[in-house]
């Protein structure tokens, strides 16, 4: 009996010590959220860690919705999101005592992608809506071969999905034959390997697939910036309160306004702030 009491005491002491050690670590930045903004956050983290090697920056990509939840639950320092925070999330943050401050880090366009062998070149927004609501179900209705369209969408966790739903679908329900995947990279991989597939991703994920013109406009950084491309959106990083000037968190989040940060954003494939 005395032996087990001693063991329990030791285990508890170790646990408390570990908790104290990990909790208030000023040299750690935890980033969580969108799979679209993920590449930007990772590039920023790599560049910033190169200048400050003792800093520990972890970047996770579990979806914009998850990022907001993590910020509200104080599980992350920066929430990357490819859509603005919903009113319900802002209310939940207020209830938890969290003040979400919005920083725009880049602009992005949602490109409609198809397999490189697909002959389609341009679609209108109404046609895209028809494909995703199931009204148009075969490529021959768009002038292509007699092959059923494989519709690929992001799952409902995603900011890209929410933006697509607002700007293209006009809140209409998607066809129940749509396949759902978990990240922008996964959509790109599906479309790259399936000749009959169509999907939507951010501008950084266009390698290996063909991007269609929407309403006659090609999705490029220039058309996104001058708003001629119809499906464009800002990308955000949310923090709890405004970070103090001079802290690592402040420098990390404001990198998008510095020349080096803008170069990194352009290199990743998105549109830097002007």
């Amino acid at each position: 009996m005395k032996n087990s009491k001693r063991m329990i005491g030791m285990v508890a002491a170790i646990g408390i010590a570990a908790g104290v050690a990990l909790a208030g670590d000023p040299n750690k930045i935890v980033v969580d959220g969108s799979t679209t903004v993920g590449p930007i956050a990772k590039a920023f983290a790599e560049y910033y860690k190169g200048k400050h090697p003792d800093l520990n920056i972890t970047v996770s990509e579990s979806g914009s919705g998850n990022g907001a939840k993590s910020l509200i639950n104080a599980a992350c320092d920066v929430a990357t999101m490819s859509r603005p925070m919903k009113n319900s999330e802002k209310q939940a943050a207020k209830d938890a005592g969290v003040l979400p401050i919005e920083n725009i880090v880049a602009w992005d366009g949602i490109a409609l992608i198809v397999h490189p062998s697909n002959a389609a070149g341009a679609l209108t927004i109404e046609q895209i809506r028809g494909i995703y609501t199931g009204k148009i179900s075969n490529w021959k209705e768009l002038g292509g071969p007699d092959v059923p369209i494989v519709v690929v969408s992001r799952d409902t966790n995603s900011g890209t999905y929410e933006t697509f739903e607002t700007l293209v679908m006009n809140k209409e329900k998607m066809t129940d034959k749509a396949e759902y995947v978990g990240s922008s990279g996964a959509i790109r991989q599906r479309v790259m390997s399936t000749p009959a597939a169509v999907g939507y991703v951010g501008l950084a994920f266009l390698e290996g697939v063909k991007a269609l013109k929407v309403n006659g406009i090609e999705p490029t950084p220039e058309t996104v910036l001058d708003k001629s491309y119809p499906i464009g959106r800002p990308l955000f990083m949310y923090t709890n309160g405004r970070p103090k000037e001079g802290t690592h968190l402040f420098n990390f989040v404001n990198m998008a306004n510095t020349p080096e940060g803008k170069k990194i954003v352009d290199a990743t494939g998105f549109v830097s702030l002007k």
Binding site: K86, E89, D176, T194, P195
Partner: protein, 389 residues
């Protein structure tokens, strides 16, 4: 001797008392009780864990049924939980998806698994068995996300590019041995009543005719399968095959244990009566081990229906009822993938019904597993009672 006794009886205690004093006895009883209580609490920890999980899942699942009722959840196939205006929570298509991939996994795992178990217990020599059994059990050690990655990155594009030829190869691989077996058995049965002189010739003629018919049938089926174009490789077929591979080690291990438990005496008695090995296995050993094999199949079912990573990555996650119901070439959505995929967006504050519906699905999975477990226990108990043990 008497003198020694008398001297001993003169007051000096020669042998210490073998009985404990009252205090010592009480201490010993206390120590026994404490030890037993400790072991009991450790054992009941696992029971409490299960009850805990059941209670908390049920607690969060009941509000969904209070908000939305039972009918839509179990009978509607429209799954739109995130629609802002009119969210719909019809999970029939998701239940159908889970059922379809489980059925496919069983079709893959059970024949292969039972055949492998019979091979391991009755056919292979002991030294070979010692090598083959660990190899089969390695299949169980591969992480499920590795299976899912393989299904998504290798198997899905393979099905899309060469789906037709893969299906026709499968038709031949499954059809040819079945056809050969059928022809042999049919020849045997048909020529049983003839006398020896005519039997051989008749058998040859019958086998030739049936063989031609079987070849033609297989060729036609192979061509029909080869003409199928699979438009999306992330479908129920993909997931069924992978789930069948994952459930295979479970089915093989438990079936083989059941076959071994049938006992040497049973087999020796059957051989002594002049039965061939095939007759012994099919007519004596398999029926004796049938309850254990049924339990193995139920364990395989539980493994297949609870698998999450593979179905989330490679089943397509499309919540619609396949048309017709047995069309394995369409993408499906399962309960486990829905819970894993929708978990992030279903916030407690922002979307009440959306949060609780995931618990309702988890409760359905739990109830199904419990029912499976109870069935398997009941089958084993009933067989044991029939065998008189």
């Amino acid at each position: 001797m008497e003198r020694a006794l008398t001297e001993r009886d003169a007051g000096r205690p020669a042998v210490p008392s073998l009985l404990l004093s009252h205090a010592a006895r009480r201490r010993q009883r206390l120590a026994t009780a404490v030890g037993q209580a400790f072991l009991l609490s450790v054992t009941s920890l696992s029971v409490f864990a299960v009850l805990f999980i059941f209670y908390f899942i049920a607690k969060d699942a009941i509000p969904f049924f209070q908000l939305q009722g039972f009918r839509e959840f179990f009978t509607s196939a429209h799954w739109y939980p995130s629609a802002a205006a009119h969210p719909e929570f019809g999970a029939l298509a998701i239940f159908a998806g889970s059922g379809l991939v489980t059925l496919g996994a069983i079709v893959v795992a059970v024949p292969l698994g039972i055949a492998a178990a019979i091979c391991l217990s009755d056919v292979l020599p002991f030294s070979t068995r010692q090598i083959v059994k660990p190899v089969i059990e390695i299949l169980a050690a591969i992480p499920s996300v590795a299976y899912g990655f393989f299904a998504l990155v290798v198997f899905a594009p393979l099905l899309q590019e060469r789906g037709g030829s893969l299906l026709s190869v499968a038709v031949w691989i499954i059809g040819a041995p079945v056809a050969i077996l059928a022809i042999l058995v049919a020849g045997d049965l048909a020529t049983d009543k003839l006398d020896d002189r005519h039997r051989t010739a008749f058998r040859w003629i019958l086998s030739a005719v049936l063989g031609m018919a079987a070849l033609y049938g297989l060729w036609a089926a192979g061509n029909a399968a080869g003409a199928i174009r699979i438009s999306s490789g992330t479908n129920a077929l993909n997931v069924s095959i992978i789930l069948g591979l994952m459930a295979l080690p479970t089915v093989v291990s438990v079936s083989e244990d059941a076959l071994q438990a049938a006992g040497r005496e049973l087999r020796e008695g059957s051989y002594a009566l002049g039965a061939t090995r095939a007759e012994t296995v099919m007519l004596t050993v398999l029926p004796a081990a049938s309850s254990g094999i049924l339990a193995a199949v139920i364990l395989g079912v539980m493994r297949a229906i609870g698998e999450t990573m593979v179905v989330w990555m490679a089943s397509g996650n499309s919540a619609h009822l396949p048309v017709p119901w047995y069309n394995f070439l369409e993408p499906v959505r399962t309960l486990t993938a829905t819970i894993a995929g929708d978990m992030g967006e279903a916030d407690h504050v922002t979307g009440s019904a959306r949060y609780h519906v995931l618990f309702a699905m988890a409760l359905s999975l739990l109830v199904f597993s419990f029912v499976c477990n109870l069935c398997s226990e009941w089958i084993v108990k009933r067989a044991r009672r029939k065998a008189g043990r």
